[in-house]
C-alpha cells in the first residue's frame, strides 16, 4: 500500500460574521489549497461557516498539561480580580 503521509491541518471556522473562528477538527491534505478545499467539503456541508482557517498541526505551540498547576493555579487565589469581591452598599447605584 502506498503511504501518502500528507500533513495534518487543524481547521478553524467562523460560523458567521461577528463571531471568532472556532476549532472544528483536523484534516489531511497535500498542501494548503487542498487543506482549504477538504475543510470546506468536510466541515461546512450545512452552512456551518462563512470563513475557514487552516494551519499545519505541527505549527501550533501548546502548553503541557503537566504544567497546568504552575500555569493556572496562581489565578485561583486572586479573587480580588473579580468585581464580586468588593462589597458596595445597596443604596449606591450605577456601580
Amino acid at each position: 500500500m502506498s503511504k501518502t503521509d500528507w500533513p495534518l491541518y487543524e481547521v478553524f471556522i467562523r460560523a458567521r460574521s461577528g463571531l471568532s473562528h472556532r476549532h472544528f477538527g483536523s484534516i489531511h491534505a497535500a498542501d494548503e489549497t487542498m487543506a482549504l478545499d477538504h475543510a470546506r467539503d468536510l466541515y461546512t456541508r450545512r452552512n456551518e461557516g462563512v470563513s475557514i482557517w487552516v494551519v499545519k498541526s505541527t505549527e501550533i505551540v501548546a502548553s503541557d498539561p503537566a504544567d497546568s498547576d504552575s500555569l493556572f493555579e496562581p489565578a485561583a487565589d486572586k479573587i480580588y480580580r473579580h468585581p464580586t469581591f468588593y462589597k458596595i452598599p445597596d443604596d449606591v447605584e450605577n456601580i
Binding site: M1, S2, S26, A30, D31, D41
Partner: protein, 329 residues
Amino acid sequence: MYTQGLDQKQKKSAADPADTPGRLAAFQARIDADEKIEPKDWMPSGYRKTLIRQMSQHAHSEIVGMLPEGNWITRAPTLRRKAILLAKVQDEAGHGLYIYGATETLGVSRDNLVADLLSGKAKYSSIFNYPTISWADIGTIGWLVDGAAIMNQIPLCRCSYGPYARAMVRVCKEESFHQRQGYEIMLELCRGTDEQKRMAQGALDRWWWPSLMMFGPSDKTSEHSAQSMAWKIKRISNDELRQKFVDVTVPQAEYLGLKMPDEDLVFDQKTGHYRFGEIDWEEFWEVLKGNGKCNRERLEARNSAHDKGRWVREAASAYAEKQAARDAA
C-alpha cells in the same frame, strides 16, 4: 454496535509500568468527577488502546457503510432521491473522517488505520456485510440501521474522551436526516401498490434481525463492558440499547402497516417493554469472523477504490512538492 469487534476476547497484554496505582487512581477520580480527558492528558495505556480500537472500528464502519448504499446511487428512482442519497453517502464519508481525525489524537497514524482496514485486520460493523437487493433496502437502512446508530451514538456524546465526544455531537446532528429520509422512503412504498408494499415488507424481513445484532453480543457474554463502563467510554449496555431500539421501532413499523419478522414479539404490559425472540448469535459471530454474504465484496471494493485512487494521491503530492520548491526558489 459499530464496534462489535470489541466484545470479542482479547489477549491480555502485560501491564504498562507507567500505569502506577497512584496515577490510575487519579485518572479514575477525574473520570468519576465527569471531567473530559483531552489528547495530551495522561491516560492509562489500556484506556488509550481501547479507545483506538473502538474509534477506529467506528470510523471503518462509516467508510464501509458507504458501499451498500452507494450501490443504489445510479438507480435511485427520482432525481430527488438521488440527490438525497448522494448527500447521505457523503455524510458517511464525513463521519468516517471526523472519527479518524479524533482517533489520530491518540497517537496513531491515518495511514496505519487505513492499512488495517484494507488488509482485513481491523473490524467494522457486521451490518454492512448484508446486500442491498431492492430500493426498499435503502429505506430500511436509513430507518433501522441509522436509527440503531443514533441510539448508540447519543450516549457516546457524553463519552469521557473529549475528541470522540465532540465528533459524536457532530455525527448525531447529521444522522437524524438519515433516519428520516429512510422512513420517508418506507412511507412512500407502503402507501403505494401491493408490489411496493411487498418490497417494503421483504426489506424489513431481511434487515430487522441484522439491525438488532448491531448492538453487539448480549451483556451476558460481552467481554469488555465493565472496564469501558468504568472509564465512561461506554455509557449504556448492549442489551439496554437494544431494548430501547425495539421499543421505539415497533410502533413505527405498525404505522407503516408492516409486520416484524418475529413470532415472539409481544408487548409486556407489566414492564412497558416489548419482549422479542432469540437472536441468531451463530449468524452474528460468522459475519463478524468474515463469513457474511458480502464481507469479501466489501473489502475488495475498498481495496479497489484505494488502488484506483493512488495516482490521484501521488499527483497531489507531486504538485505540492513542485509548488513548495517553486516558492523556495
